[in-house]
């Protein structure tokens, strides 16, 4: 068993209940392959640096978890199949990384640095209309 960090970008337009639902789903996916969630931070809705499946925003989740190394491809496959996830990144962590992570507060700058001033997206998002 090793430690991993999964960063998941969910669709931007989810309500509170849908976010909780996807957190449950992601926890279930991790458990399915014998892993467990160590820590989960909701970074919230952030402006993406580039468009991801036509989305300019995304809801970020940061999950620290364990996983059997050989199961990681299957875990990623499940992330891919989950329709609320638009992008993901799985990173293997060293023991020292996880110790540091568990003892520190979530990095605030990533949460505060949202730049997604809701005010100015009204003009930009007009081309996203379906």
């Amino acid at each position: 068993m090793r430690n991993y960090q999964s960063i998941l970008i969910l669709k931007p337009d989810l309500d509170e209940a849908q976010v909780d639902q996807s957190v449950e789903k992601i926890t279930a996916i991790i458990n399915k392959f014998g892993g467990s969630v160590l820590k989960l931070d909701k970074w919230g809705k952030k402006r993406l640096a580039y468009r991801v499946r036509k989305n300019k925003f995304g809801y970020y989740l940061n999950v620290y978890h364990t996983c059997e190394p050989r199961e990681v491809p299957k875990l990623e496959k499940e992330y891919q199949l989950y329709e609320l996830i638009i992008k993901y990144l799985v990173i293997r962590l060293e023991e020292s990384d996880i110790e540091r992570v568990m003892s520190q507060e979530p990095v605030e700058s990533v949460i505060k640095d949202d730049e997604g001033d809701e005010g100015n997206n009204s003009s930009e998002s007009s081309d996203d209309d379906e």
């Binding site: 960063i7 640096a49 940061n62 990384d97 540091r100 990095v107 640095d113």
Partner: protein
Amino acid sequence: MKNQRKKRTLFTQKICRFCSEKIQHIDFFDTKLLKPLISERGKIVPSRISGNCARHQRQMTEAIKRARNIALLPFSVEH
């Protein structure tokens, strides 16, 4: 010879921000820390300009590449 050395020290005199702030670990999702290290076009600022030491430049480059992968930082700026 003497001249050459003098010229080189002009660049190496810059101090590494990470060393001076005693930053142990660069989190790739700490965009506030990484943003000043990419140019307006989204390119990584070379250490000869930023003044970062080789070790921190390497860590920072890795961090920026990861951040780009998860859309926290741009690959290149859209027009």
